[in-house]
Symmetry: D2
Subunit: 183 residues, 4 copies
Amino acid sequence: MADMSVRTPDPNPGWLSEIALDETRSRVPILYVEAVPVRVDALGSVEHVGLLLGGSVTTGVMTRTIVSGRVMHGESVRDALLRNLEKDLGPTAFPQLPTSVAPFTVAEYFPLPGVTPLHDPRQHAVSLVYVVPVTGECNPRQDALELSWLTPEEVLSPAVLGDLEGGRGALVKQALAHLGALG
Amino acid sequence: MADMSVRTPDPNPGWLSEIALDETRSRVPILYVEAVPVRVDALGSVEHVGLLLGGSVTTGVMTRTIVSGRVMHGESVRDALLRNLEKDLGPTAFPQLPTSVAPFTVAEYFPLPGVTPLHDPRQHAVSLVYVVPVTGECNPRQDALELSWLTPEEVLSPAVLGDLEGGRGALVKQALAHLGALG
Amino acid sequence: MADMSVRTPDPNPGWLSEIALDETRSRVPILYVEAVPVRVDALGSVEHVGLLLGGSVTTGVMTRTIVSGRVMHGESVRDALLRNLEKDLGPTAFPQLPTSVAPFTVAEYFPLPGVTPLHDPRQHAVSLVYVVPVTGECNPRQDALELSWLTPEEVLSPAVLGDLEGGRGALVKQALAHLGALG
Amino acid sequence: MADMSVRTPDPNPGWLSEIALDETRSRVPILYVEAVPVRVDALGSVEHVGLLLGGSVTTGVMTRTIVSGRVMHGESVRDALLRNLEKDLGPTAFPQLPTSVAPFTVAEYFPLPGVTPLHDPRQHAVSLVYVVPVTGECNPRQDALELSWLTPEEVLSPAVLGDLEGGRGALVKQALAHLGALG
């Protein structure tokens, strides 16, 4: 949702030109879906959280993020969620999509930093956020991205939380609280 | 979210011209908030559901709907929810906004009827839907709109459900199920 | 949770004698977990709902039910959920337990019929209810029980809903509403 | 749920003798309801969290807790929630009970400390936990109890979280995460 998305181009980039997208971003909030990938045990308890690592094109700094992408015009929320999971985790991740389309939270990103913990310099974005267990092999499609599986304890370290771009450390903490794994 | 909105103009219509809005509607899904107003007893159990009654400008047919409106650029979800509640229920409704921004469901409206139970001929809209208890006096601001308080049983009659525009009968049933009042 | 449980004895019946259990039932509400088993597609949308069919020992009437069982003393909710899923669906059902322990609803069964849609002649029971996707083969362990996979439309027929014991037709409708499959 | 409850006797103590309750506690998990009282602004955002302060009879140490109490035999979850809110906050707190009986989380207390963050030396307790806005004056009925309203930031200080009895610091953090106020 920040500039890492430049390195994870949408498979259907023609759906909207960059110029049209920029114009649209100045007019309405842009709808996203985001997913916190997790590995769970047989009881459904989270064992590991998957964080994507990538380099920011504009700043050159390495940052972490979660699965994230726009909902396209005409696309259902479920389709967008699956498409973005496959875009970021590869075709063999076998994500278990939620049975209910209600997100565990709604994340709001504003262009100005400081208004909320979350921000996105490009736009006002509103994101439906889900926790998604994955059971298969994850192979991020882009060379620049790696996926790391961290324990909840590791994720909650200030260093990792601080590396999450756009203030998503707060969002991942909220996800762990939802899972009962905040410690 | 259908053409009744023509009769409930946004108090800040200048935020986006109709031409710009039409263009935007062809590019991205438009984010809405919707609210099912309810009266509850001391235990939090729903006693009545508030449905708005209005005449469609294009068809002249009377239809029912719930509180509904766009999230503006730069506006938070909570601000949009309160603004649209006041727009549709008046300034003395005293709505009790949800403590969590997570909606009980996400409603997806597509321009083509039949794809899903919900449709909106104007656009692809995605709506965060909440149940909102109101304790004050409701005075719909527009002459054309009336608010009726119906019991859950009355709401569940096929005649009432069928009057809800855009297929929202399914959405109101889902709200009643969430409240444990589906019968 | 009604008398069908006589035919699905707990694998650890010694945890509490019938006499002690009866006495306890007269003193406090008894905590249950219940699960609506579902088959979902790659997008997480429900395709089929699993209903158990069994004969009531006391009445001889065939009734349908969902996965249901007590939470034992010292047992976690997740352990109880997995144990009862295996008890009713067999060891190869591969249920995908929820990542969050928060149920989608709480079902309250009172001994007296008519107080609520749900009742249990044996006790006051309070049940944490989950929707659980299963991906494997289901083999109910008891000869008397069969598992049928029905589409949401089939489940919503009055005949099927009426066959659900203890008033669980209302509960299954609520589950389908939660899944966005109420129609 | 720990020994502070000795100082907040149930108004209907005759519902179950201490001996019968002790015996029951050794047999089944005991069902509780708990509530985190909050003050919210017009948008539903939490401004203050109410924590009860009391002295432990057995240890003499001052501890903090939230609203907590058993669900009685024959009592509905909503009735138990309102009764315990009135017991701990007084008759003029005007709590806004949730419209849905689904809790935001389920808390599990085991007699042995260390199994989970939560523990209760007296029993295995399972608690349905809610966030409940209150709009009126809170007057804890018992002399020994005071109610303090703290900002989310104040609540999240290690000193306050550590004062919460039975490990409820983790539970209150989870509540704040649910409200989007984890920081």
